[in-house]
Amino acid sequence: MSDPLGLIRSATSGGSSPLAGGARLAPGAPSFKDVLLQNIDEVNKLQQDATRAVEDLQAGRRNDVEGVMLATAKADTAFKALQAVRNRVMEAYDEIKQIRV
């Protein structure tokens, strides 16, 4: 799993590390970080697919407009979904930031 910035500490080591509030991750369940990075990888792959499809269409290497439309629609939806998740996470972070200690 790529962690280009190394910012997210792994939430679990063997599924036994205690989380906030005493909650425990089910054994074998992937951590939030793993899921997020996997999704970022997938979105990146879809974006690259779409870019390549558009390039191929313009260079005349393929002639199915429909396939290019499909690739761009997939990349667009996937990116929007990732952005929605990111906005939600940032919202939660902002709310935590507001808590007075």
Binding site: D64, E66, G67, M69, L70, A73, K74, T77, K80, A81, Q83, A84, V85, N87, R88
Partner: protein
């Protein structure tokens, strides 16, 4: 997640192929020779669709899409036309010409175009559903 889009795209490709076959039929309505210049009247082509699209990326697309199973050459699609003095006329002055009715072909072309539009509409609806679901999240 993208199953319905894959299915709609397989429909788009199938209808585009159908449109190409109709265009070929209209273009060759008066074709009497083959590429080598021998007498061989053009035979009408028709597309045969079958369920399932092996080229689709998602399992739903592979199972529920549509594919062009074959482009059938109709071996009987010839008609006799009286053209006395024509190089290929028989002793009674008849020539075997492609049995292609331009009205039928135009109607098929219109149907293919409308079916293409319907697939576009289905794809748009699927995309709208996805972005509406995202609005719930955002």
């Amino acid at each position: 997640m993208y199953g319905s889009l894959d299915i709609s795209v397989s429909g788009l490709i199938a209808q585009r192929t159908r449109m190409q076959v109709i265009a070929a039929n209209i273009a060759n309505i008066n074709t009497l020779e083959d590429a080598q210049g021998n007498y061989s009247p053009y035979l009408r082509r028709s597309v045969m669709f079958a369920p399932g699209d092996p080229a689709a990326k998602s399992p739903q697309g592979r199972e529920m899409g549509v594919q062009v199973e074959q482009i059938k050459i109709e071996s009987e699609a010839l008609t006799r036309r009286l053209m006395p003095g024509h190089p290929y006329a028989d002793k009674d002055g008849y020539v075997m010409v492609p049995d292609i009715n331009p009205v039928v072909e135009q109607l098929n072309a219109m149907e293919a175009s409308r079916a293409y539009e319907a697939n576009i509409a289905a794809a748009e609806a699927a995309k709208a559903m996805m972005s509406q679901a995202l609005r719930l999240l955002a």
